[in-house]
């Protein structure tokens, strides 16, 4: 606990050692598993043959090459990421604007509160069947589902961010002659940014959770959710593992991007950690 924080490269080395160890252990487990794990699995009503519960690096590699060369994986990534980005953008705009409005005005907050409370406790996925009926099986229902999910989270973040601005700051600005617009631009917005970014980061993670299920409703190939479902239906474990890993890496990449933007946007703040 009281150790000095080691140099960054030590931490990087340790991270690489940990990931490398895990990778080697998996490789060994997969080789052993090829011999000992069952290849024939009883699935409720029928047997499934040729199952590799722990696919070896070899079959993972072959599958990856196939998925890349056939263009399935790149196009799936592009389609799913595109949906996330559009839905995220729409939802974030709506959510942040609404959240700022409810944060600024008590009246709007009172009007919106029952609805926000209701939506807050509604898992976005539960809206999926409703959206399918309303917006069809195509693109809009998926994008709007993500947008709804993102909007609720960012609304709360923006609301709390705006509400959290210390009264003293606003009073000080007013006594120095700042009008509402200037005060909003120079005080409320910067002070609310950390909260907003924190909520954006959470929303981004949730959006990826949502897409995996949302993409099952329109059975068209280029999408990560459908790739996963299809791999599960056959089942082709190497495809499944690659699908899971791809989603995981994309989530990680987006999370790091959000963190980076967060750090950039709040650079002026003093930070302890």
């Amino acid at each position: 606990m009281m150790q000095m924080s080691p140099a960054p490269w030590t931490r990087l080395r340790r991270a690489l050692v940990a990931i490398g160890t895990l990778a080697v252990l998996y490789g060994i487990a997969a080789q052993i598993g090829q011999k000992w794990l069952p290849h024939r699995i009883w699935m409720d009503v029928h047997y499934i043959d040729d199952v590799e519960l722990l696919p070896t690096y070899r079959s993972l590699g072959e599958e990856l090459v196939f998925l890349l060369q056939s263009g399935i994986l790149p196009s799936s990534i592009a389609v799913s990421t595109g949906r996330i980005l559009i839905g995220f953008f729409l939802g974030a705009c709506a959510g942040i604007l609404l959240g700022m409005a409810t944060g600024r005005s008590r009246r709007i907050e009172d009007l919106a509160e029952p609805w926000v409370t209701f939506l807050r406790f509604t898992p976005a996925l539960a809206l999926l069947p409703l959206y399918v009926v309303w917006f069809g099986y195509g693109e809009p229902s998926k994008v709007l589902l993500i947008a709804t999910n993102v909007a609720v989270v960012t609304l709360l973040g923006a609301h709390q961010g705006v509400r959290g601005v210390p009264r003293v700051y606003l009073d000080a600005a007013a006594s120095l002659g700042a009008d509402d617009r200037l005060a909003f631009k120079k005080i409320v917005l910067p002070a609310a940014l950390p909260q907003i970014f924190a909520s954006l980061r959470i929303a981004l993670g949730l959006a990826w959770v949502t897409i995996v299920v949302a993409e099952l409703i329109d059975a068209k190939m280029p999408s990560l959710g459908y790739l996963l479902a299809l791999a599960g239906a056959y089942p082709r474990v190497p495809t499944m593992v690659i699908g899971i890993a791809t989603v995981g890496l994309l989530v990680l990449a987006f999370d790091l991007l959000a963190l980076f933007l967060h750090a950039r946007a709040t650079r002026w703040m003093k930070r302890t950690a």
């Binding site: 606990m1 009281m2 150790q3 924080s5 080691p6 931490r11 340790r14 991270a15 940990a18 990931i19 895990l22 699995i41 699935m43 409720d44 519960l53 008590r106 009246r107 009172d110 009007l111 509160e113 029952p114 609805w115 409370t117 406790f121 509604t122 898992p123 976005a124 996925l125 539960a126 809206l127 999926l128 069947p129 409703l130 399918v132 009926v133 309303w134 949730l206 990826w208 959770v209 995996v212 299920v213 099952l216 409703i217 329109d218 996963l228 479902a229 791999a231 599960g232 239906a233 089942p235 474990v237 499944m240 593992v241 899971i244 995981g248 890496l249 989530v251 990680l252 999370d255 302890t272």
Partner: protein, 303 residues
């Protein structure tokens, strides 16, 4: 002061009532006006299959609460004017003996199981990472990789290992809760408890005493905030996994039985979906309120 609170909640209620009334009018529009006179865009939307009238939502609610038995009885005398047959969706559910309260109970049970098993796992991992910088350097990257995988993406893989059972519904929830609670536990120990730990150690505390009397209380505000967030994630995961792969629970109620993933072209009755959403939101609200009370109780010593 009290007056202001009353006034504010009245405004909220008014907003709620206005929208419900507006919805009732819009959803019943085809009864007042001949649908042929609607503009084409509205004609497709203003249909009871798309926007269910408020009374069909209420009917679905009553049918799903009272269950299959009393349903026929109420049909006999209540609906003299119009014979509103239940939609296929309600019919299928009633045939399977599904009721709202039973589905809710099952899903609440799964959420609670996820919390009870997942929370200690996540908290212990977080404490471990926060306690030892060296271990943190090794374990944290692995945790970040693991956390990035959406729990629902794992369902089919878990199913291959463990077969079609309760396990592939519960494991994603446990996993989601645990992954969520690692971070508050980690920061609670690393950033908050530092000086307390030094003081407690100087006084000779160690082991279990240190954990229960210093670490857990110091991390508790963070942990309880994390718990409320984990609750929301657990609900989301539970409903999602039930929509995909379960024969019971709220997710199943919403999509009308069976495995949605295997019959992709199902159209659910929006009235049932709305009833289901209301049930889920209410249960989530109650559980969150419980967590709030718990937070106030357990962190009362701070103020």
């Amino acid at each position: 002061m009290k007056n202001v609170t009353v006034k504010r909640s009245l405004l909220g209620l008014a907003s709620l009532a206005t929208l419900v009334a507006a919805y009732t009018v819009v959803s019943n529009a085809e009864r007042f006006v001949d649908p042929a006179r609607f503009p084409p865009v509205l004609r497709d939307v203003l249909r009871p299959e798309v926007i269910p009238p408020t009374q069909s939502i209420a009917e679905a609610l009553i049918a799903l609460v009272t269950g299959p038995r009393s349903d026929t009885a109420s049909d006999e005398h209540a609906h003299a004017g119009h014979h509103h047959a239940h939609s296929d969706h309600v019919g299928v559910l009633l045939q399977q003996g599904v009721t709202l309260q039973q589905s809710l109970l099952i899903t609440v049970g799964r959420v609670l199981f996820g919390l009870v098993v997942g929370a200690p796992l996540g908290i212990l991992l977080g404490f471990f990472m926060g306690w030892n910088r060296r271990a943190d350097d090794y374990v944290h990257p692995l945790y970040v990789l693991l956390r990035s995988v959406p729990p629902l993406a794992l369902i089919t893989y878990i199913m291959l290992w463990l077969g079609h059972s309760e396990a592939h519904r519960l494991i994603p929830i446990v996993y989601a809760v645990a992954a969520t609670l690692v971070i508050p536990a980690y920061h609670g120990v690393r950033d908050v408890a530092g000086t307390y730990v030094v003081a407690a150690r100087a006084l000779g505390a160690r082991g279990r005493l240190l954990l229960t009397k210093v670490l857990l209380p110091a991390a508790s505000p963070d942990l309880l905030a994390g718990l409320r967030y984990a609750l929301a994630i657990a609900w989301m995961t539970a409903v999602g996994s039930e929509m995909l792969m379960a024969e019971n629970g709220m997710g199943n109620l919403i999509v009308g039985g069976g495995m949605w993933a295997s019959r992709l072209q199902t159209r659910s009755d929006p009235a049932v979906v709305m009833v289901g959403i209301m049930g889920i939101a209410t249960a989530g609200f109650v559980m969150d309120a419980g967590a709030k009370v718990l937070t106030a109780r357990l962190t009362a010593w701070i103020r």
